[in-house]
Amino acid sequence: MLNSSLTEISAALAARSISSVELTGLFLDRIAELNGELKAFIWPEKTRDIALEQARRADERRAGRGNAGDTGPLTGIPIAFKDIYCTRGVHTTCGSRILQNFVSPYDAHVVEQFYRAGAVLLGKCNMDQFAMGSSNESSYFGPVRNPWAKNRVPGGSSGGSAAAVAARMAPAATGTDTGGSTRQPAAFSGICGLRPTYGLVSRYGLVAFASSLDQAGPLARSAADLALMLNVMAGFDARDSTSVDRPKEDYTKALDAKLKGVRIGIPREYLAEGIEPGVREGVEQAVSWFTAQGAVRVELQLPLTRLAVPAYYVIAPAEASSNLSRFDGVRYGHRAKEYADLIDMYCRTRAEGFGDEVKRRILVGTYVLSHGYYDAYYLQAQKVRRLIAQDLLRAFERCDVIVGPTAPTTAFEIGAKADDPVQMYLGDIFTIPAPLAGLPALSIPCGFDAAGLPVGLQLMGRHFSEGLLLGAAHRYQQATDWHLRVPTETPL
């Protein structure tokens, strides 16, 4: 069961060949076995009993009726949540010291949706602190290790979610994506990750990072599982003012996509120098597969790609500095023990509570928003953002999907970029354009490099084209088995 898809698990539960308590127990045992080393979950021992109790109730609900009716599509299926999702009565640390003792008084909208669908809270996943990072090294709870190579990072910021799904510690997990945080860890960990269109999934109850960019998305082992997860996550919620009110879609119905005639745009800049040879090869082979199915290759130029990282690293820190001003040691979270006065209390609380990367971004954000620099940095970045978005939307007049690598490299070694934020930021070059333009994008495995590390293929589409992206990815996964491989360092 550890290696089964959500559809298979769901069928087994429906057929009563396994109970939710048994199933959840299998995953909890796997977590207990691997988490000491991988650190994919934060305090799984604190959520274990909650998971088993929820599983017991799911079994009761299922036993309670002879006809389907009241049981949701995920009844009894354990799902892991990135620890940025507020979960009532359960720690919600956001990977930080400042929220180390925070137990949420309410559930995020997405958590409510999963409960409504019958899912069981399996545990809370480790993450880069406040979702700021691309390696999971900024977590207060220690770096997550990549199941394919334990001396390497799993990617970030949803690195715990990605490692948990890759190591078969969870059938699927939620993540968030501000500049690539579902897709890049999916690529590094050999699984699938989706960033939906801005506004498709409610952020109510997610700890805010950069509000004009943040989106919630699923991580799973196949595109078909992503579709099932998105069915639960997507939908209007009045409590998030950016939530888009549109009819609900059944993404599983889009999986049988026709590839013939689909125009696949390949930006020259996405396969330029600086891309590792193993990554380039994996992507080229995947593109060849799509064209062999009748898809049409369209050569694109997106010269503004080079500006995406600079614009993002102005906008995201600016919004973060504003969002994180709420952490003041007064209403919730850590408060310094010793201080001289109110201002000193704030300064020490925040100095103790935030990690280096978070402080760095708050300081950068404070600078680009400050008097005299606002126009030159923040306003200019918002203008460059529009130019980048216009470039992408124009490209979508000539193609239906933009395809390229999710990241220029495969997973790097823990510590390799830890002292050099700029090198870390530059690795986000292919995942940042979609959030800047509010576009959906997903990452699926498309091969391995010479070192045996997974390579991620990114598919980006027009606004609300999740169905097409999932369908194209599903077709590819019916013909390939990259997504079925079990990580070499966490065998079953």
């Binding site: 960019l213 009045a238 990282v309 209403r331 919730y332 918002q382």
Partner: protein, 95 residues
Amino acid sequence: MSLSDDQVQRLARLARIAIRPEEFEPVLERLNSVLRLVDEMRRVDTAGVEPMAHPLDAVQRLREDAVTESDQRDLYQALASAVEGGLYLVPKVIE
């Protein structure tokens, strides 16, 4: 451009983040490396371009002016480090 010591001190004050003396050099150095990275974006000609504040260019949705929150003061205040008589406690600010 790069930040001076005084500018970083001022930013730290504005951001309410204390920086210990021994941390100061590495903080300054890394902030400057980030600003060098974003510098490329400053040179782009953006005359006549509207700033993009929302990726779908949507406007803020308004709702009826109705009470939507119930009184959950005790629940919320249970999370605070110092409360008394239903009030959040902070160091004295008025003599």
